[in-house]
């Protein structure tokens, strides 16, 4: 409930619901004044990790290149395994990190290079959401 209330209190929130223990949250992001406005949807049920996807606009893949730092289904992959714990507030961690992903995504579309840092790992290592990863 604490996670839900913190997300709902964010001014950029468009909608926030909680049903059967699952949070569903939608927010609008504009990472820089030059950026587009993105709509992101986050779902979360403890003890799984939050899942966050870009609803609109459709993400670009220049030359058919795969999107950087996503899980299957284009779920944004914002932190290392075990870097995020359910004791941390999503509104203060996952949400700002998602905006940072969007910012570096726009630079990536421009150049094909990811400047946001982080690791690259085989697909098999992270093919599904697991608790606190």
């Amino acid at each position: 409930m604490q996670q839900f209330l913190a997300l709902k209190a964010l001014p950029l929130t468009s909608s926030a619901t909680i049903k059967c223990g699952q949070i569903r949250w939608v927010g609008h992001f504009r990472p820089t004044p030059l950026s587009r406005t993105y709509v992101l949807r986050l779902t979360y049920r403890k003890p799984l990790s939050p899942e966050i996807v870009v609803v609109s606009p459709e993400l670009k893949r220049p030359g058919g290149a795969p999107l950087p730092h996503v899980y299957p289904g284009d779920r944004l992959c914002l932190c290392y395994p075990r870097e995020w714990k359910s004791s941390q507030m999503i509104a203060q961690t996952i949400v700002p990190w998602a905006s940072e992903w969007l910012l570096h995504y726009e630079f990536w579309v421009a150049s094909g290079e990811w400047h946001g840092g982080g690791h690259e790992v085989p697909v098999a290592v992270h093919s599904s959401a697991r608790p606190d990863e």
């Binding site: 001014p11 004044p33 587009r36 203060q92 905006s99 570096h104 726009e106 421009a110 150049s111 840092g117």
Partner: protein, 99 residues
Amino acid sequence: VRNFADKWAEKPELATAFYEWLDRLEEDLLTARETEGIDRTVVALSESFGEPIRKAAAAIADGYRFERERGTLRFSTASGALSLAGELPVRQHGFYGQN
């Protein structure tokens, strides 16, 4: 400072080329101002300024990462904007994922 006009008396085609470039620059700046998306802005400005724009964009992107790594990047809870002036600090993390 380079004087673009010093040869124009001998080579008037240089003046023509300069004013054509200036017209294109004006169009590109107007396009960039009305464009949404860093990627499209970089493309629009690169039409007039070329490779230095792409290098500048890379430096800006690296700058955001640098500010986050040293703990000074902040997040606006109203707009989602990242800057040095938002309400929330952007905590250290590493992007993961398959690509």
